[in-house]
């Protein structure tokens, strides 16, 4: 049989994607209807207040105000803003239609430790439809010992997304006691696995972190890889396959992703 060359990663494109009409409408808005409008998706996330507490805003106090963030998304030409139902309901009124919304469905505080982390949903895909969102965000704690709870809740979200034509952005975050024992959440081993989980479980977009170098605790064959940063990124993008990849940037409040050429 013929084999395609693996030398060059083929970035997924919306045009060739198999997503439904409803997802396609909404993904088009994210990739081409706002922000750079060239297929690049730049998301302004605002879930730190829940995930890390207000302490995250101490270095830059205005950031605590969601209205400031909406203005920032608009003036900074972001493609979309990602936040939870509380912030959307209370702060979106003046920005409706002007800034696409990615409604984050689940989340938790970081007060208790993450050894058996689960991220419970506090909103639903129907909440996202009601609020006019263009996608939902769902955190999947890849490898947590309680992944059965996490995945069970995810199944419902994925099916609702399919039924309602809502794109699903997976925050694929390795987390928990087991991944810590295997080198931590940031390694290529962890991020590469997370990318594949997103593809296997049917996400449309996956949010990852740029993988760090491997450590001694990482399982083989990753431990021996010793690839450079560029090669590591190429690897996780390849593992994500036809799922669009969104990387968290080095800065706290912006994320950048370069998509395929315009559809």
């Amino acid at each position: 049989m013929k084999r395609k060359s693996q030398a060059k990663i083929q970035r997924p494109s919306l045009a060739s994607s198999s997503v439904s009409h409803g997802k396609r409408v909404r993904l088009w808005r994210l990739f081409h209807g706002s922000g750079p409008r060239n297929g690049t998706l730049i998301v302004l996330p605002l879930d730190q207040g829940l995930e890390h507490g207000p302490a995250d805003f101490f270095p830059h106090p205005p950031a605590i105000d969601p209205d400031y963030q909406f203005r920032l998304a608009l003036e900074g030409n972001y493609s979309a803003i990602a936040l939870g139902v509380g912030l959307a309901e209370k702060y979106m009124k003046d920005y409706c239609g002007r800034v696409p919304l990615i409604l984050k469905l689940n989340g938790k505080t970081n007060i208790a430790d993450d050894a058996e982390a689960v991220s419970p949903a506090y909103a639903s895909v129907e909440d996202a439809v009601r609020l006019g969102a263009d996608a939902v965000g769902y955190t999947m704690y890849v490898g947590t010992p309680r992944q059965d709870v996490e995945i069970g809740e995810y199944r419902k979200v994925r099916q609702d997304c399919e039924r309602l034509g809502m794109p699903l952005v997976m925050w694929a975050y390795p987390r928990g006691r087991a991944i810590e024992a295997k080198g931590g959440k940031g390694t290529l081993y962890a991020q590469d696995y997370a990318a594949r989980v997103a593809e296997e479980m049917g996400a449309d977009i996956v949010k990852l972190h740029e993988p760090t170098p491997e450590t001694d605790r990482v399982p083989e064959p990753y431990r021996s890889l010793r690839e450079d940063a560029r090669a590591r990124v190429r690897r996780v993008v390849r593992s994500a396959g036809r799922v669009f990849v969104l990387f968290s940037g080095g800065e706290k409040d912006d994320s950048t992703w370069t998509a395929a050429p315009p559809a």
Copy 2:
């Protein structure tokens, strides 16, 4: 881009709030239809019998009688009384319509310890509608190790509130083994986080405690803050954003909150 000054906290107002018509009707009754009628909400809570047991009434024996409490709410010009379904059903008959009801939906005894506290719902938003309540109260144990149970139940309550136009008052109470290890439930760190959780998760009103000074076990940057009481209060109010803040008073049986100017 332009940044609004953060020097002065802008209190939320009902007029500018994004809440639905049904919530607006009921919030108007709480803020302007009874009690001070000037936008200030003063709530008489009566859930101590469940949360702490009858011992809480020993210093002032008449307080054990819910009828006494209803009379107190009426004669004391409170904006509303907050209690559970058992007390509402058995004692509200003579006060229906005269004293707005905030139906507390969940609760627990303090017999078992709070290391993994969960506050289970023993009533629903539909119970509140049936009883003519103007809001529901829901205790969220912020940071408890079993927050997935707590938040899962909360999601249903929040969605029913949205569907039925019922304002949602969150008792945002840091609780559990983890918060104890980080300085306890009363610190600015804990209360500030709780305020933000209420905003992120879509409460309309949040009940907090006035934050105490920080201790050595509190995480940075809070540990180094050393702010005075007034600054601490300003901080948590800012973190609550457009969620109305209700502080527990120093006395056992009254709570005071000063709202925005009349809508």
Copy 3:
């Protein structure tokens, strides 16, 4: 404001109760339609076989036969018999209509210990309706570490009772590791708390035990009370408020409660 005297406990009466028409019909049958017919409710309970095993019947062997118990209820002029769905279905045929039934909905064996006791429901309020019962019984293990499971199931029962006009009798039993550490299930502290839980959570009738003297492990202010038996009983009745109180008698197979004067 005026305060009513607390010197005399006002017993609740059916006439002044706020319960719905359906509950009122059935409570009338319990208080005035059988047994003493003067507002006093005397219940013959038969759940020992499940809760304690057949060993409970060794001292008086005929008691193991539910038919004997039904005859005893009839000939002994009891107001009602309380038992589970298995016994009701197999033994009630000849007594239908002649002896009011309180269908016990949940229960468990005492084989495993009670440190984290939960009493699971093996029947529903609709079973009670189908069998022509005049009330349901629900055991609430007050203070058990797993109270969230217990209360979650209770919520459904309470709502079905409201919907179907079925009186709810709460077996309010302090139980579990925590109450043992605080002096045990029989103390005034425990029974007083249990009485209040029944009132807060919406029971119509509460079954309690006559409180024993306090021990050193009981929390303050109970530890210092040192009241006599009569004062202890008065206290728990006061804590139950408008919930009718039913005390377990000293004998194994009868329970006596004196209600308000006839409605």
Copy 4:
């Protein structure tokens, strides 16, 4: 009042039973429509493959073939065969109508230990109706620390049986850490309690084991009983009351029960 003599156990009879028409039709088929047809129920059980693994068939290899078992049930004049949904669907075709089916609804492997045993349902009462079964079988692990899970699932089964007129056979098996600490699953204490649980919880037929002599770890008053085998059997039959008792025989693959005289 008059007391009936307890000297002679009155065996329950189908004629005098209170079961519904649907249950009565199906019980008649079990007691009088096949097998001895004289009120005696002899059941051929085939759930060892799931409960104990194929090792159970090593002493008699043909027994591993369910078709062999169906032929055995037919040729051996059994009243019914008891097995799970997988075996019924794949092997019953040639025996439909000729051998009554008792569909076993739950089960588990014996690979993990039984300290906190739960027997999960892998089929439903509606499966039994669909397959033309005349009864369902449900294992209840009496006294297991996780009895709340077991009983919660049982409630649904019992209610479906009532709704659909399907007789319910309870495999009442004491199991788990607690019963082991109290002398084990085979003692009179354990079997007597199990018999009563079946009656309290509404089984129509209960499957028990002939009780073994008591040991020193058995609770009083059983420890001091020292009854002979016949007296022990009489005792558990009495505790089962109007529930038909089915004893597991000494042989691995047959069970014998002698019922009341023909209805």
Copy 5:
């Protein structure tokens, strides 16, 4: 009674199977509509990316591309490809109808250990219908301490398969702390038990591994068997009864099964 000879294992055939019309249509497609078309089912599985992570593709990098796998299934004349909902939705477009799909419904990562393994469902039988699949795959961790969770979810899947005429392929995988203590997941004891579980619980096809020799930790009578590889295979096929058996091959990415003669 007559006994059939056990000397020769009778392979199940589709013609004589009791499955419903819908299952029969789809099984015909798997056995005779593609691949060898002679009753032999050869499946190309692609769930390693989820179960083991991308590391599984390191030895043969093109295998990480699901499109490559679909082409391989087509060009390699496989009967079907087995993968999850994410891969099916994103990669099947060009292969629809040309390669039968077995939709794998549950799965998990191998980051956390398997001591109490559960494989949560992230898709449903209705997803399989929607995608035009000819079967669903479900992993059952035979003997895991949390088998009640696993079996509870399986029940729903099995019933949906029956309702929708969808063949059910069980990945019957012994797993968890208990099977490790009894010799591990690959032994004849483990595989033989797994085969029987599939038959008892109603699978149509079971995927097993060729059993390895027994070890000292395996329970009797297996420990003393010491059979050769061929005898071990014959034994597990016999235990599977009328469930079609599919063995994982020695190679990573192919599986071979020889079925009955064409129906």
